[in-house]
Amino acid sequence: MLDSLRASIRRTAFALLGLLAALFLYLSYIQVIQSDFLAGHPLNRRTAAAAEKVERGTVFDRRGEKLAYSEKDGDGRYVRHYPYGAMAAHVVGYSSPRYGQSGVESAFNGELSGMTNPERRFGPITGLWTAKAGNSVTLTLDGELQETAYRALGNRRGAVVAIAPRSGAVLVMVSRPAFEPDAVDDDWKEIVGAAGSPLLNRATQGLYPPGSTLKVLVAEAALTEKMTDNRKTYECQGSFKIGPDYVLHEANNKAHGKVGLEEALAVSCNVTFGRLSLELGRSRMAKAFDRFAFARPLGGDFAEASSRLPDFGRLGDGDLAQTGIGQGSLLVTPLRMAMLAAAFADRGTMLKPFLVSRVTAPDGSALRQFGTVEFAAATSPATAAEVNRMMQQVVSGGTGYAARIAGVKVAGKTGTAENPHGAPHAWFIGFAPADEPEIAVAVVVENGGAGGEEAAPIARQIMARALR
């Protein structure tokens, strides 16, 4: 009697213990095989919650002003603050537990969050090397200049980039419309849906036809290839017929008459530069863009949109002439145009722009330093000096008069870029002082109209402020 009872007990025990053992195996599957999927799932808030426990590093400008810092709120969680708000929103970026990071907050997230070594697999032992506070990042940005540029641009859409030509340090990077990085969590939907895409950093990701500002490049190419010198003159009758069915026009069909290269640049003569592009031809034009490294990615601190260069080999004459005056299918970012200006300011060497000068540990010790790196040997010092001189002429006696600063030699070039979205984009690129350059700028005002009237005064304000 007891034996049959024991037999069924034994069977039941095997079945139940077997089920518990199967559950054990399933648990192992969940915690080991499925672990990565579950831990990294976007709906799993643990990564964000862990970030709230760590004091994220501070972002400083070049003078030590705070651009972003973390502070404990009432519940003991760290909350991010941005003293410069919308003014530096694109360059500093945002850091949101829900929507991730952008700008420097994203590019240096590992350093700022102190989680450069996310080895969670070691379990509790990780506590030995994960930091209680993140590292701080110091930018080359100048908060004061940034504010000047932001206000100078006003409510117009556009971008401003300023670089220190002799180091490559980025001093200003403004994009408008902007957003409040403090409000990203609360107003995400409005920010994403707002007109003018405020999240877009137009300085590095806005692609625009450069218009006449590109003429400095064509002038450089003509000099480098010895197509012209200052004695050779060109005849401008207001328009220029290319082939059977293409005519290049001056603005308002104004005839410039007999002009040399210097005067052609000062008055921004389309006919002369269209002709020069044709004389240079496809391959030498392509080489010029190559020397200034338009197609080579910057990498590093910037999320950059790559320039759209025409396929020179297949370009018709009309399109080649269009490219020579910065129109056609050519599209570039304001950052690249600031680099172009800076190259002429600094002896023809193009430096790699950098935004972060150093990373410091919470105890103040420097962990990483960044400095000047050559990006491209764009042109010879002599040619650069020649273009520099011609660019001074643009400001002192040409279309760039609005950028003049009393007592300072300013070099520049205006642009008024036709585009399919309405009024032309207003451009200005330049640098000052022309013989001892401290700041190079690129300004674009979307659909702003004439570059000399809309963009040059903005550049003037920034340069004047920087040289004060």
Binding site: L5, Q31, L43, A49, R120
Partner: protein, 418 residues
């Protein structure tokens, strides 16, 4: 089992408790002396209970109390981690549970004597459940709480012990009838109606719990345990078929009639269809377990607070997150050992009644662990029951200790029995 080893193991369980409470309080900054003294008191109480048991000549299984103590220790550590304010209450329940364990261990030495009052136990169990059905209060979606003055408790935790006791006694008397007085129709056996009656009664009870109190988990436990006990008593697998059939009927009825049952099943089939809505709790539990990985985040360094009801039904997810598979697997091993020792007691029991009782208790305990750990890990559809000894909650802790005291009494091999 030499009794010295039981004492060592209990000291070890005490050390686990003290180390855990110390670790958790140090994460918060300073050591919490009140909690530490309480833990020390409990750590001391376990060896004292051991001496009381052995001095009085109790010869029950020496592994049961240490296993229960480690699980209680882990439960207290996690409650202290998750809801520090509930730690003292839970420690008090653990102490009361220990007393109940001793009482039960001695009381059920004369199990045969008490089995004569089987109808009293059975009616008491049913009365408790009916009282809950009539006067029950809804806490956290389950209407299975009873208030008596300031004390509130979950009668179903105790009633299940009464029902198992009644079934063991009732089935023991009718074992022969169950085994032989049947008619066979192919694989199906049809017992006489009066023998099928208790099964039907428990099934009805389970359905009542389901309908009246929405207590899916308890219903499953009662019915599953009763079915397996009838199988144990009869040795006829056919009764399991009957049980499975009735369970299926009940499940289909519940599925079609009750949206909350339907939701549980849908969530189980595909939690990722609505991870932020209906499946929120299970998905959060899976996140906790997955984030814990093999070694866990360490006590105090995880985010178990993201899982709703984490200190009661979902405490296993918190263990999996902060102690990893190492900790959660250890808990599983402890339960497997505990259930194994209970079955072992049943196998070695000197009389059929004691074997049935110990076997029934082993099934009850094993099923409860299976149902809740399975639910939390999405191995099974989720039904809310407590994780024995570990979840916060006095009724569950005390009832489980009484259950283990009964098993201890059943495991005793007294010289007179030999």
């Amino acid at each position: 089992m030499d009794t010295k080893r039981e004492c060592y193991l209990l000291l070890l369980a005490g050390a686990v408790l003290l180390a855990g409470v110390l670790a958790v309080s140090l994460v918060g900054g300073a050591p919490d002396y009140r909690a530490l003294v309480t833990a020390a008191g409990l750590a001391l109480a376990w060896p004292v209970a051991h001496f009381a048991l052995r001095r009085a000549g109790h010869l029950g299984d020496g592994l049961l109390l240490p296993l229960a103590a480690v699980l209680t220790a882990l439960g207290l550590i996690m409650v202290f981690r998750l809801k520090p304010g509930l730690f003292m209450v839970q420690a008090l329940w653990a102490a009361l549970g220990l007393a109940a364990f001793l009482g039960s261990a001695f009381f059920f030495r004369q199990a045969e004597r008490w089995s004569e009052y089987k109808y009293f136990w059975g009616l008491a169990g049913i009365a408790l459940l009916l009282a809950t059905a009539l006067f029950g209060v809804d806490i956290g979606g389950n209407k299975n709480w009873l208030f008596i003055g300031p004390v509130h408790f979950q009668p179903s935790e105790f009633a299940k012990l009464f029902i198992v006791l009644f079934l063991a006694a009732y089935l023991n008397e009718r074992r022969e009838v169950l085994t032989f007085a049947t008619r066979r129709y192919g694989p199906l056996i049809l017992p006489q109606p009066r023998i099928l009656a208790p099964l039907l009664a428990v099934w009805g009870l389970a359905m009542l719990m389901l309908v009246g109190q929405r207590d899916l988990g308890a219903a499953l436990l009662y019915f599953g345990t009763a079915t397996v006990m009838i199988y144990l008593a009869s040795g006829r697998a056919g009764y399991l078929l009957w049980g499975a059939g009735m369970f299926l009927v009940g499940s289909v009825l519940a599925y079609t009639l009750y949206p909350h049952v339907r939701a549980r099943i849908d969530i189980w089939l595909d939690p990722w269809a609505d991870p932020s809505g209906r499946a929120y709790q299970v998905v959060q539990s899976l996140f906790a377990l997955g984030s814990g990985g093999a070694l866990g985040s360490g006590l105090g360094y995880g985010f178990p607070g993201l899982v709703p009801e984490v200190h009661t039904d979902f405490i296993f997810a918190a263990i999996g997150e902060e102690l990893g598979l190492a900790g959660a697997g250890a808990v599983m091993m402890l339960y497997i050992l505990l259930v194994y020792r209970a079955f072992r007691a049943a196998l070695l029991a000197p009389s059929p009644f004691r074997a049935l009782l110990a076997g029934g208790l082993a099934v009850l305990l094993g099923l409860q662990v299976l149902v809740i750990v399975g639910g939390v890990t999405k191995f099974l559809p989720l039904t809310g029951v407590t994780l024995p000894l570990v979840s916060y909650g006095g009724s569950s802790v005390v009832a489980t200790f009484i259950l283990l005291g009964m098993v201890l009494a059943m495991s005793e091999k007294r010289p007179t029995d030999a």
